[in-house]
């Protein structure tokens, strides 16, 4: 085991020797381009003769679609076509799990912003005017917007199948178990947006074979292709996708947004078609994090040992299913947190409503549950008079523990150790004792000069969380890679072909690092991620490093076997007499054959389809089953200063401890932990899509606030590397864990500073000062 600690890690000095193999701080190949503004993002795509696509969207959260009249739009010079659902040649609906969403609205629109028609025109401005000129007649209907009402049998149905997308049930132990100490609470999580910086964009080019080539920023090329091909009525091999430069994803690019639309327009116009969503349109163009209401009852012995947890969670999935089923599976199976609980009852519901569709976002169901169960753990600690870390450590899961699903945790689960590490980390200097001194930017309110110390109280909070890595519940989750090895003018060159998507998370360095280490060479070429090879699965669920590293390791092993066979033939010795070391084959009597010599006979190539160990579907009545591949764990301690009179918060310091199994690229790991922690800070303090009667009130970065550098405190990160024996190189997925516990840690710190219950995130100033009845439920707790 090793521990990496870093606040900020210095990149290697120019000219310094960096191994750039596994465990090295490999530099991003696209880093300089991105910093210098030269990287080509998907919005920079261009083709000769291309036209611009744009989308007509419903202004109503729910309405009957009476008619679409394109005639006025078609009279505008420069407009090529206007398409409606009647122009969708194949399957008219799409969806990640279930095809329940119309490519273009049919019969009824179910959320504000639903795509109704498409236009193609010679410029973005003409396209915009054409969109405004398409006459759509709606008959508005009363939208179903309250999830608590939507789940009642009497509720109006958003879809004919009913409003309950999934009811996950978990029952373990004694349903009647009682405990001497009981705390209960109701919690609410608002709708967070992934807020990636590069809005949806892509370019579709019609091909001579009747097919289409699509370049797009996405998380999963093959699941896009499946849905595009179905909607176009084309065989999949006629639909070719390539990854364009991705400006962040965080789950929001797992669903189809403009992929099908671009291809429909390209095939209709016979021209390349480009689409770029504006920032405002982007808020309507992708799914968000499910808002949730959660009710928990925790029972414990007087010694603090958990006896039972009962939870009811209601997740609003909005108008279409997206990945709601899987999100509910996570919330349900992970719903009591990384603790050992003998008696558990969980009911988790995912719903249809006429609110914006919700789906994948970093933390995927684990975030909402963790906010609630960690608040409960703090209340229990308070009730018992225990330190919150002591109570958590006492109940912490460890290797060998049983999940409430009956699954054995069969790799390191250092929950107590992570908590201890953040607990013992050095604290920041205390608040200045004297008020009345202006300290620019350092106090709550930041630059806006709202306090010189008046009303400011410091608080400290702790939280730990966990999440599954990879796709769960029996999903056949695999990744394909093709690695070829050939002699080049300057030595051997390995070429990697993969459809795995680089989103900014650093997969590109992982790919080269694994191949370098496994083949002992320096020259690794990454081809553009595209559909010429098989599916890599999604760059989501913290799985892509795990999966692609596993697949590449296997491909490299097979290549080495091929090289050994060549060496055996050449040296005339049996293969077992040969060995592999640092890119060379060693034979008897000091015979050495280098890669270049072995490749004289021609290149070698291996294609591997690699799977993680299988998982099981859970029992529908009890939630029992080996649902997950692996867990990732992180703990946070947040120190905050709260202006208790104005309700403003400055996070002073956040310490994170996370087990990553093996840091393939330590610098990138620290970056992921910084970023994930910050995204959790955003949910704690400011990030919320506000919905009123099904309508989004703040679709802009003016009013959907994300943290600035003045909101993000110094972060000390402790990285543990406890190898998971079932995983390639022992690694654990990294990306999501830090997002999960930073939110409850910050809120716990604000509770400590204010003494208020604060049962809802994001915290609003009016909740913190106690003006809002809902947010300040119960009033001061001490």
């Amino acid at each position: 085991m090793s521990t990496l600690t870093g606040q900020t890690r210095e990149p290697a000095a120019p000219g310094a020797r960096t191994g750039n193999g596994i465990g090295d701080d490999a530099r991003r190949p696209d880093g300089t381009q991105k910093v210098a503004g030269r990287f080509a993002f998907s919005s920079d795509l261009w083709a000769d003769g291309m036209v611009w696509g744009a989308t007509v969207r419903s202004p109503h959260p729910r309405a009957r679609l009476i008619s679409v009249d394109p005639s006025e739009a078609l009279r505008i010079a420069g407009v090529y076509c206007v398409l409606t659902h009647e122009d969708v040649p194949g399957q008219k609906t799409f969806g990640l799990e279930v095809a329940d969403q119309p490519v273009l609205a049919m019969g009824e629109v179910r959320y504000q912003g639903e795509a109704v028609a498409l236009v193609a025109a010679d410029s973005p401005e003409t396209a915009r005017r054409a969109v405004a000129a398409v006459r759509v007649e709606y008959q508005p209907l009363v939208p179903v917007v309250d999830p608590m009402k939507a789940m009642l049998p009497t509720a109006e149905k958003v879809h004919p199948s009913g409003n309950i997308v999934r009811h996950f049930k978990l029952r373990s132990g004694d349903p009647l178990a009682e405990a001497p100490v009981v705390v209960s609470g109701e919690y609410e999580v608002g709708m967070q947006d992934q807020a990636f910086l590069g809005p949806e964009s892509g370019l579709a080019v019609p091909a001579d074979d009747g097919g289409v080539d699509l370049q797009v920023a996405t998380q999963w090329l093959h699941v896009d292709r499946r849905q595009v091909a179905a909607a176009l009525g084309l065989p999949e091999d006629k639909v070719r996708l390539a990854l364009a430069g991705v400006g962040g994803a965080f789950g929001a690019r797992e669903d189809v947004s403009l992929q099908i639309h671009l291809c429909l327009l390209a095939l209709r116009t016979g021209r390349p078609v480009k689409m770029v969503y504006s920032r405002e349109e982007s808020f309507f163009g992708h799914v968000h994090r499910h808002p949730a209401r959660l009710r928990y009852v925790h029972g414990a012995g007087r010694d603090g040992r958990l006896v039972f947890v009962k939870a009811e969670m209601v997740f609003d999935g909005g108008a279409y299913m997206s990945s709601t089923r899987a999100v509910i599976g996570n919330a349900g199976t992970l719903g009591v947190g990384p603790y050992v609980v003998p008696n558990v009852s969980v009911d988790a519901y995912g719903l249809y409503t006429n609110n914006p569709p919700c789906g994948a976002m970093r933390g995927f169901g684990a975030v909402q549950a963790c906010f609630a169960y960690e608040a409960q753990m703090d209340r229990l600690a308070e009730e018992l008079g225990m330190h919150p870390v002591e109570l958590r450590s006492l109940n912490a899961m460890a290797q060998g523990s049983l999940m409430p699903t009956g699954q054995v945790v069969d790799s390191p689960a250092p929950v107590a150790d992570l908590l201890r590490r953040v607990w013992q980390a050095p604290l920041p200097p205390p608040l200045p004792a004297v008020a009345g001194v202006a300290t620019e930017g350092l106090l709550p309110g930041g630059m806006a000069n709202t306090t010189h110390g008046e009303g400011v109280v410091r608080g400290t909070g702790y939280a730990v969380g966990f999440k599954n890595v990879g796709f769960s519940e029996g999903y056949d989750d695999y990744t394909t890679v093709r690695v070829s090895l050939a002699a080049g003018p300057d030595g051997p060159v390995a070429t990697v072909q993969s459809a795995a998507c680089e989103l900014g998370q650093g997969l590109v360095t992982v790919e080269t690092q694994v191949v370098r280490s496994e083949l002992g060479l320096s020259d690794v070429v990454l081809e553009t991620a595209d559909t010429r090879v098989g599916s890599a699965g999604s760059s989501s669920a913290s799985r892509q490093t795990y999966m692609t590293a596993g697949a590449l390791r296997e491909a490299c092993a097979r290549l080495r076997a091929g090289l050994l066979a060549r060496a055996a033939a050449r040296l005339g010795v049996p293969e077992p007499d040969l060995s592999w070391a640092h890119g060379e084959v060693l034979g008897p009597e000091r015979a050495v054959l280098g890669l270049s010599e072995l490749l004289e006979a021609g290149p070698l190539e291996e294609t591997v389809e690699w799977r993680h160990r299988p998982t099981q579907d859970v029992d529908p009545e009890t939630g029992q089953g080996d649902a997950h591949v692996q867990y990732c764990f992180a703990a946070h301690r947040a120190v905050v200063d709260v202006d208790t009179e104005l309700g403003l918060v400055k996070v002073v310091q956040i310490d994170t401890a996370q087990d990553v199994g093996k840091a393939i690229n330590p610098g990138a790991v620290i970056g992921q932990i910084h970023g994930g922690t910050t995204q959790g800070l955003g949910l704690a303090l400011m990030e919320e899509i506000q919905i009123d009667a099904g309508r989004v009130r703040n679709p802009s970065f003016t009013d959907y606030l994300i943290p600035t550098i003045l909101d993000v405190p110094p972060m000390r990160v402790q990285v543990l590397e406890l190898a998971d024996p079932h995983a390639p190189y022992g690694l654990r997925g990294v990306g999501e864990a830090p997002t999960i516990s930073s939110t409850p840690a910050i809120v716990a710190a604000v509770r400590a500073a204010t003494g208020r219950r604060l049962a809802r995130v994001p915290l609003r100033p009016q909740d913190i000062v106690g003006l809002d009845e809902a947010g300040a439920e119960g009033g001061p707790s001490r």
């Binding site: 930017g441 630059m447 009016q766």
Partner: protein, 288 residues
Amino acid sequence: MDFHYPRSWADALALKAEHPEAVPIAGGTDVMVELNFNRRRPAALLDISAVPELAQWDRADGHLRVGAGVSYTRLVRELGPQLPGLAMAARTVGSPQIRNRGTVGGNLGSASPAGDAHPPLLAGRASVELASVRGTRLVPLDEFFTGPKRSVLAADELISAFVVRPAPGPEQFCKVGTRNAMVIAVASFAVSLDPERGRVGTGIGSAAPTPRRAGGAEEFLEAELAAAGMWQRPRPLPGPVLDRFAELVTASASPIDDVRGTAAYRRHALAVMARRALSWAWADLMRN
């Protein structure tokens, strides 16, 4: 969309007279956002960023006349000591990039109730200089705003400058937003003290249909301070005076619930800010 690009003030005024529908643009930090969001599609833009007269400020007759095209960054650097309240507000505007481009003239032209420059200018009793081919007029700022994003600016007029006395005493500005930088005011407050004349100035932002003064609070405090001889012999302000001042500031507001905050919170925050800002300004006065 037509684009006019005058290089002199005379040309700018002539163009505005000829094309009253043309929307003036300087830094573009408001106008370009509106265009981007498709909220307005003006027939023409009048880019006044190359008019040299607008980028100047000078001092005459005991007043500062600051050209409408002076950026927030320049305000902070060049006029910080003379207009401390406005400089404090300017520091809270957007990001460094926005402050490099944005101008007080644009802030006034947009006439948003949330404009950061408005409360300190109101507190300092500034006037706005409006010009057209018909001539120039000086409008006291508290008569300039007529409603949310509306002002007395005529269709053929451009804002040429604001005119204000250099701060005669301590000034303070504070602004509440839900993050620590780059945030639009949920509520803001400015106070200005003039010990020579025995005057108190205030300005409140984002808490009424227009930025406005809290006249009742100004009068109350002026009377209290005069009666107690506090201007001559400053002593710590009694708690009840601070409380009443805060109460009267809040009474001048008529906030609404919107996406950035509730009316109740805005009232509450104004009271806290009024009390704190006044106590800081008064402490500055006592120190000097």
